[in-house]
């Protein structure tokens, strides 16, 4: 793994992940499935840590992934790769933005892309959901885990609870009951 490949992998993610930080999750899933750069467990840790720390979740995820791959410098290189397309595209658009003001075709493209991103997120959910029941390469349908999942989902969905709160809470519950 060289720094150059890492940089361009995240440059590519920065170029195609449309619709906010969580849109990069399908691309990280691709790093798990296709390139085998990180494990499925890594991905789950990355998402949790990104949500709990300050800053944009997409940036957090890139830094952690780069770190998991080749240490501190890897974290920095992955982050630089991710932000470079933004700096270039915004720099270019800022030049003619004052003249055009509205960009209806761009909005139309964005709405369509957003729909595709939902499909991608849905498939990421399926993978993460199955991961819950993975125990050392065997699939165990643990009734405690199913109960916790349903209880957390219902509470979080109806009361709109901050994810940081239930990530910490479930971490504590997991440690106490020895999940």
């Amino acid at each position: 793994m060289t720094f150059l490949i890492l940089f361009f992998k995240f440059f590519y993610i920065g170029l195609f992940a449309v619709g906010g930080g969580f849109a990069i999750i399908p691309f990280l899933q691709d790093l798990v499935d296709e390139a085998h750069w990180i494990s499925q467990n890594d991905l789950s840790n990355i998402i949790a840590l990104a949500e709990m720390t300050p800053g944009a979740v997409g940036v957090n995820m890139a830094t952690y992934t780069g770190f998991a791959l080749i240490g501190v410098l890897g974290g920095i290189v992955a982050t630089l790769g991710l932000i470079t397309p933004s700096i270039i595209t915004v720099g270019l658009i800022s030049r003619f933005w004052q003249k055009t003001k509205t960009l209806p075709p761009v909005i139309s493209v964005f709405n369509a892309v957003k729909a595709a991103v939902i499909g991608l997120l849905g498939s990421v959910f399926m993978t993460l959901f199955l991961l819950i029941f993975q125990d050392e390469n065997t699939f165990v349908l643990d009734i405690r885990k199913i109960g916790l999942f349903i209880a957390t989902f219902c509470t979080a969905f109806y009361f709109k609870i901050n994810p940081i709160l239930y990530i910490i809470l479930l971490g504590v519950i997991g440690a106490v009951i020895g999940l």
Partner: protein
């Protein structure tokens, strides 16, 4: 001096932005619209809409727009770096701690709990996003296509590019109807 202030302001925003994009917008509003008066409320909304539409992390795009407005291309770079630096530092520090505790059984149990929380979070995110974006049959079709696509472990960039084309064609057709 202006560049230094841009860096400092975004460093501050990046340090306190827990939970991603929308917190960042709220902090930017108080820093640049209310305190420094570098930006009008309308400009903030325009930059936000554009940042969401363009590829890349929303808050990074947003920082780049503001930086470009106040300090040109270099201003954009400085603002983006200021914005991501706190996140990069925090993640790198935490990643070191986690790497050390990784094999402890209690930590593993806690992570099993966290994994449930992460799956809940992604499911919630998918549902909330779907409410806004899947109003039309073609939006639904794009989402289903993207969902199935990922099961074949293929690159998530393809559904995004296809969705972009569909959005573009739909816009052209709409324009012809209204002509």
């Amino acid at each position: 001096m202006k560049l230094f202030f841009l860096f400092l302001s975004f460093f501050k925003i990046g340090s306190f932005a827990f939970g991603g994009g929308y917190t960042i917008v709220a902090l930017t509003k108080s820093e640049f619209v209310e305190k420094r008066k570098w930006l009008t409320e309308q400009e903030l909304l325009d930059f936000l809409a554009l940042s969401q539409t363009l590829p890349g992390i929303i808050s990074v795009n947003f920082a780049a727009f503001l930086g470009n407005k106040k300090g040109g291309f270099i201003g954009g770079i400085v603002s983006v770096l200021g914005m991501v630096l706190p996140a990069v530092i925090t993640i790198l520090l935490l990643a070191h701690l986690i790497a050390g505790a990784d094999n402890h059984p209690i930590f593993q149990s806690a992570l099993n709990g966290v994994r449930i929380a992460v799956a809940v979070m992604i499911l919630n995110l998918t549902i909330t996003q779907a409410k806004g974006a899947l109003k039309s049959w073609w939006g639904l079709l794009l989402a289903v296509f993207a969902f199935i696509w990922i099961f074949f472990k293929l690159s998530p960039a393809i559904p995004i590019i296809i969705a972009g084309f569909v959005g573009w064609i739909l816009f052209q057709r709409k324009r012809e109807i209204f002509k």
